[in-house]
């Protein structure tokens, strides 16, 4: 499990390698929030290399989305495979987030 991130101006891109689950969601949340404190406003999370997400991971995304909006920013999610899309649909989180096929898609008009 690892997070790799890239910061360009107010754009933060993070890739989640492995799972986003109860064991690492705190670390993940903190990483993003620190960047938001330091001016990141457009946040793009790439799930291309993500295995699965549990309810804690989904919760972390919900809470990050809220915090980023409070700072006048926007959160976009990209690269979810079919399994992950199923999770977002089951929990109706596909109504809360726009799911982009790829990071490139998500960057358009961002």
């Amino acid at each position: 499990m690892a997070f790799t991130f890239e910061r360009t101006d107010d754009l933060l891109s993070i890739a989640v390698d492995g799972q986003l689950v109860v064991g690492n969601r705190q670390e993940f949340k903190q990483l993003v929030l620190d960047q938001v404190e330091q001016g990141a406003r457009r946040v793009l999370i790439d799930f291309t290399d993500t295995g699965y997400i549990d309810s804690s991971g989904l919760g972390a995304l919900v809470s990050l989305g809220k915090r980023i909006r409070e700072h006048g920013g926007e959160l976009r999610l990209a690269g979810l495979n079919e399994d992950l899309r199923t999770l977002f649909e089951l929990t109706r989180l596909d109504t809360l987030f726009r799911l982009h096929d790829s990071s490139d898609d998500a960057r358009e008009g961002f």
Binding site: Q19, G51, D54, V62, L87, T91
Partner: protein, 150 residues
């Protein structure tokens, strides 16, 4: 951590049983989940089941047992018993807590505000991803997840 106990009946009709006891630390979750998923893959469950249904629902059950049932107290134990047989997969997760009102928890996910909440999706996901979820209290509190062969 390897299974504390492993047994398998003879021949093709064999039942496989894996058993663990872990301290109540979320760091212990991944190894158990990986093991049960690998077992399901080798037993012949479809890829999607091994990559989504089993790992997510088992992670939920273990996280709840560790955090809610045992209050993250590392001296308290969570027991896991996974069984693969002709019917399918059955996993029991037992904590040392007193359980909870499952009906009340499930009712919550129909509330308008549910989608915006940070927590409260674990029990829902277990039900959504497994054929059957049962809970009871005996010596501690047990959640049993069942998934039949497709």
């Amino acid at each position: 951590m390897t299974p504390a106990k492993v047994s398998r009946g003879a021949g093709d009709s064999g039942t496989s049983v894996l058993e663990w006891q872990i301290a109540s630390k979320v760091d212990e979750i991944d190894a158990i989940v990986a093991a049960v998923c690998a077992a399901c893959a080798v037993a012949g469950f479809p890829d999607k089941v091994c990559r989504l249904n089993v790992p997510v629902s088992l992670t939920e059950a273990l996280a709840n047992a560790i955090e809610q049932g045992n209050g993250n107290d590392p001296t308290r134990v969570v027991r896991v018993l996974a069984r693969i047989d002709l019917v399918g997969l059955c996993v029991e997760v037992t904590d040392e807590g007193a359980g909870f009102d499952t009906q009340a928890v499930r009712a919550r996910c129909h509330e308008q505000s549910w989608v915006d909440r940070e927590d409260g999706r674990g029990v829902f996901l277990m039900h959504a991803l497994m054929d059957n979820v049962e809970t009871w209290c005996d010596v501690g509190h047990t959640v049993r997840l069942t998934l039949r062969w497709p």
